[in-house]
Symmetry: C2
Subunit: 341 residues, 2 copies
Amino acid sequence: MRLRRITGLRVISMGGAEMHATLSEIRKAPEGIIKAQEAFESVKDEISLPRRITYTGCGSSNFLSQLLAMATNALGGEGFSLPSSEFLNARNYYFLNHELIVAISRSGETTEVLKVLDVANSKTLGITAYESSLSRNADYSLVVHTPEESVVMTHSFQAFYFAYLQLLRNSYGFDPYDHSDVVELSKEALANEDYVKWMVEDFDFKRVFFLGSGILYPVALEGMLKMKEMALFWSEACQTFEVRHGFKSVIDSETLVVLMVDYEHEWHEKLIKELQGQGAKVLLIGKESLGAKYFIEMPRSDSLLKPIFVLPVVQLLSYYKAVKRGLNPDNPRFLEKVVRW
Amino acid sequence: MRLRRITGLRVISMGGAEMHATLSEIRKAPEGIIKAQEAFESVKDEISLPRRITYTGCGSSNFLSQLLAMATNALGGEGFSLPSSEFLNARNYYFLNHELIVAISRSGETTEVLKVLDVANSKTLGITAYESSLSRNADYSLVVHTPEESVVMTHSFQAFYFAYLQLLRNSYGFDPYDHSDVVELSKEALANEDYVKWMVEDFDFKRVFFLGSGILYPVALEGMLKMKEMALFWSEACQTFEVRHGFKSVIDSETLVVLMVDYEHEWHEKLIKELQGQGAKVLLIGKESLGAKYFIEMPRSDSLLKPIFVLPVVQLLSYYKAVKRGLNPDNPRFLEKVVRW
């Protein structure tokens, strides 16, 4: 039923031929999960992850590396992440103590990520969407076949995350998730497309803050980056309650605050009241609206799965904001699909 | 001589009576170092820091906690930092393995920071400017007597950093720095005030990116926050070479890029060319201009001291931008000196 609803939307809203590749890629979230499960199954007997892992990538893949580090810690390992350029140039400022380096690049050709392999002092695992320099040069590789036409990374982000999360669970003695549930819940997440589109029409915000805590903080960062890439827009991210420490000076009646809520805390309601009191409008993605102007209900699931259901919403938000601003999200200014030096 | 130059500036530029408290506090950087040295000396025989330390704070103090973690790692310890709200609410996503928690709050009364002491599973050390709840409730305290009239944190940031850095060096078997050198170099840094003021007049930028790597990345974050707090302004920060991964889509002819350079790398010159090619103007703070439109020479020093000399420049930049925008930096919108729940 959900699938029908999405397919319907696709036809109604854009028509088949004119649809932006970026929107098409965002809508592939459920297919991405299937590809992710295939990737996991193809390596699960061959790769057993150790406890101490350093994660690295650039841009979206850097935020994904933060997500993977958090998942590792939540499952009892020791995960740490840093951008690849920092690994290369400023390593002594970070405490690295890994048995494995996991390097992420959608194209598998990002210069900094490949250079990390050259200087790695441990085994390496590459996560990528293609048979590529990364998959060939790393000791192990997890190739999630989610090639994207879009310049910006969309559904492959969640696909990479899910494939690796399954591998982590399998390695650490937890049952992998039933991926068909995750596929269904991804469809539910995408079913918010109409609401997101309406919201962008309803409120012509001039800047946007993404707030998330724990496993949703890297999702907030990714939302921030998507909004810049697609909509060339003033976007911010911080750990939820950090926003009251300085950041909130720029939150006013022109600001949308996207608050991603994973756990209950009495401060959430106070925070919403405070920020809406400054004139902002809050979109809460979580269990209940808590007085926020806009609300999207998140599917009930394990916390570690939540990024998978929140990401399509923030991707759609950036996409529709870009379209509203008259921009072509398929051709973001100054950006290229593969970043090389 | 340097001191005279600064004193002269003070009189010429604003007059004594009308000067904003914030500017006055920024200019106290050298005095802050003296206070820091006194604080260090008062505890050095009593406190010996262990190797594994978790750092925490909120807002500016969160960025300071990142700086302290990096300094710890650079000196051979194991430092990690996270915002206090994350420590309280999302601890399981971080790998914490400390013998000591260092909690930072200028006022010593920040709710989240005090709550960390309540749930701490190790000894605690508080860094603060006052005899306060933090200094009283922590097992150890480092009170750096740099009270500030300004709502935003300015020279106390570097003072806290220097006092603690001395303690780290002393604990880890390195000679503490000669603080009188640091006082002199702080004066040199402040002597760039005229240049910063001129630059703000010369280029009416609409957004600003702070780029730093390693020990200068938390300085970039602090610059980003100061600019929001004082100038209510679109400001960004990322690890230097991360900027090419998505962020640069919003870097155009209205953008000032503040590039803080600590180490030599062939990519710096390429990056400046690329960003200025997009229309931006780059202010390089470092050893040589490398083709940047604006340039401030950083005093030669150990890398770990560089934040102390870069911070006054970014504080001045935020201050003068705020004044140019007709704002009163002493009274930043929506902000209070002590953040409580």
